[in-house]
């Protein structure tokens, strides 16, 4: 299937071709074709139930864990089909990490939360682990706030700190792509601003796909925006263009608040 006609300013990190997802008999996504540009922030917007979260979960095969899901079409990571028979979903999820709406630190220390992934993937050396934890917390802009209490419970952190901890945890296994599902919707404006600033820093190194209900947030943080409605990708393009001059009436109606 042909690549979609959108001018990207970087390489294609992940490519989706003719992706259709059904939960049992219920169609959730219909024939979506889209490219995710490397080291850019791609935002997925749309009303509840439009399929954007289902779409996000296709990038690291999180939908596999939901019974009765049927997926057709193709999703590639660096030109390799992630739904291929040889693909190990655990290794895929290391390369394509995820941050959720509700921060979900383990009931462990800050250190152990960040070290969790590397340990699972076989890293035992305490010095190396310590390095990974520090680097990840630095990248997640949390190090300065927690360096003197790494052994304290992660659950004692504020909501915004917990979310950055979850981002650090995702970074610790050195992913290529980070998926974020409403990462700031439960946070106050200052914690939200910190996450948004962090996203800008992370895109220097990582490819980011973010689902958000907050259109201003999509406008602020993303380079490309996809608008979903009723399981279809209605429009995909450069964020500044989509928010000033969308090509589809449905997109226009949604982003200007003329909806329902």
């Amino acid at each position: 299937m042909a690549a979609p006609a959108v001018q990207l300013d970087s390489a294609v990190k992940m490519a989706v071709r003719g992706l259709t997802v059904r939960y049992g008999d219920t169609p959730a996504l219909h024939d979506v074709t889209m490219d995710v540009p490397e080291r850019r922030v791609t935002a997925l917007i749309g009303p509840s139930g439009c399929g954007k979260s289902t779409f996000l979960r296709c990038f690291n095969r999180m939908n596999d864990t939901i019974r009765g899901t049927r997926i057709t079409g193709e999703v590639t990571l660096d030109d390799e089909n992630i739904y291929g028979p040889d693909v190990d979903p655990v290794e895929l999820r290391r390369r394509v990490g995820m941050v959720f709406q509700r921060s979900n630190p383990f009931p462990k220390s800050i250190f152990d939360n960040v070290a969790f992934g590397p340990r699972i993937h076989g890293l035992k050396d305490p010095v190396a682990l310590r390095e990974v934890v520090e680097r990840s917390l630095q990248q997640a802009a949390l190090w300065d706030e927690v360096e003197d209490r790494l052994d304290r419970s992660a659950l004692d952190l504020s909501g915004g700190q917990q979310q950055r901890l979850c981002i650090a945890r995702a970074l610790a296994v050195e992913p290529d792509v980070i998926l974020m599902d409403e990462p700031a919707s439960a946070l106050d404006p200052i914690a939200t601003a910190k996450i948004e600033e962090l996203i800008q820093e992370l895109k220097e190194t990582y490819t980011i796909v973010i689902v958000t209900h907050n259109m201003q947030q999509a406008a602020r943080v993303s380079d490309f925006t996809g608008y979903f409605y009723l399981g279809r990708l209605i429009e995909f393009g450069a964020t500044d263009r989509v928010f000033t001059n969308p090509t589809k009436q449905e997109t226009e109606d949604y982003i200007t608040g003329r909806f329902g």
Binding site: M215, F243, T244, T251, E252, R258, F259
Partner: protein, 231 residues
């Protein structure tokens, strides 16, 4: 286009459109009155026209404030955002057209106070013709704004050449007249100014029309040497 889910927002956008139109209508009338004050040597009309420029200025400030309020409170996007930026720019042009009307009225008062010459420079040029061209451009640019009609707006942009040419012709005619009889210079210069003001009205109407094209199509055709043939 469907209405906004937020009715207060919808209301503010409609009232913005209405205010721009009110200002446009007022400015159109100001030009008509100023030209009439000049051609009919009506000093009273000239004075009321100058006085009314304050109302134009007040609307300019009010519309700016409304735009700022909408930007701050609603974070408009897409066409709504283009409406706000268009309103902000259009009102600047309308305010300048209002100034042109006041200037014409001022020149009318000065001409009224001066003894006329024979033969009159006034009869050498067709000021009502250039005035009608300017008013028609302004009227159609505002019409294009109300109807969100990009084709009509493009037509306005393309008619700017005609008014420029007419002004150049008037300039040549009045120059010859002044060379022939230097005692007429003071009076003739004032008429020449009026012609220039009206030509400027055409330029501002063109700016408005260009912004209407931006509003409707989301693309800028400003600062092109020649307006495009079609959109």
């Amino acid at each position: 286009m469907p209405l906004h889910t937020d009715r207060g927002y919808e209301q503010q956008l409609s009232s913005l459109r209405a205010s721009v139109l009110e200002m446009g209508g007022l400015v159109e009338d100001q030009i008509a009155q100023a030209v009439r004050a000049l051609t009919e040597s009506d000093a009273t009309l000239a004075k009321t026209t100058i006085e009314r420029d304050h109302t134009v200025n007040r609307l300019d400030v009010e519309i700016d404030e409304l735009c700022l309020k909408i930007l701050a409170l609603h974070q408009p996007a897409a066409r709504d955002l283009r409406l706000i930026t268009t309103a902000l720019k259009i009102t600047t042009d309308l305010e300048r057209i209002g100034d042109m009307a006041a200037h014409i009225a001022e020149r009318a008062l000065e001409l009224d106070a001066e003894p006329p010459h024979e033969p009159k420079a006034d009869s050498m040029i067709d000021l009502p013709l250039i005035a009608n061209l300017a008013r028609s451009m302004l009227h159609r640019s505002l019409d294009a704004f109300v109807r969100e009609d990009a084709d009509l707006a493009l037509e306005v942009c393309r008619s700017d050449d005609a008014i420029d040419k007419l002004h150049a012709q008037l300039f040549q005619a009045l120059l010859a007249f002044m060379v022939g009889d230097p005692t007429t210079i003071a009076r003739t210069m004032r008429l020449l100014f009026v012609s220039k003001y009206l030509e400027r009205v055409g330029d501002h109407a063109t700016n408005i029309a260009e912004m209407v094209i931006f509003l409707v199509k989301g693309r800028s055709i400003r600062h092109m040497d020649v307006p495009p043939r079609e959109l």
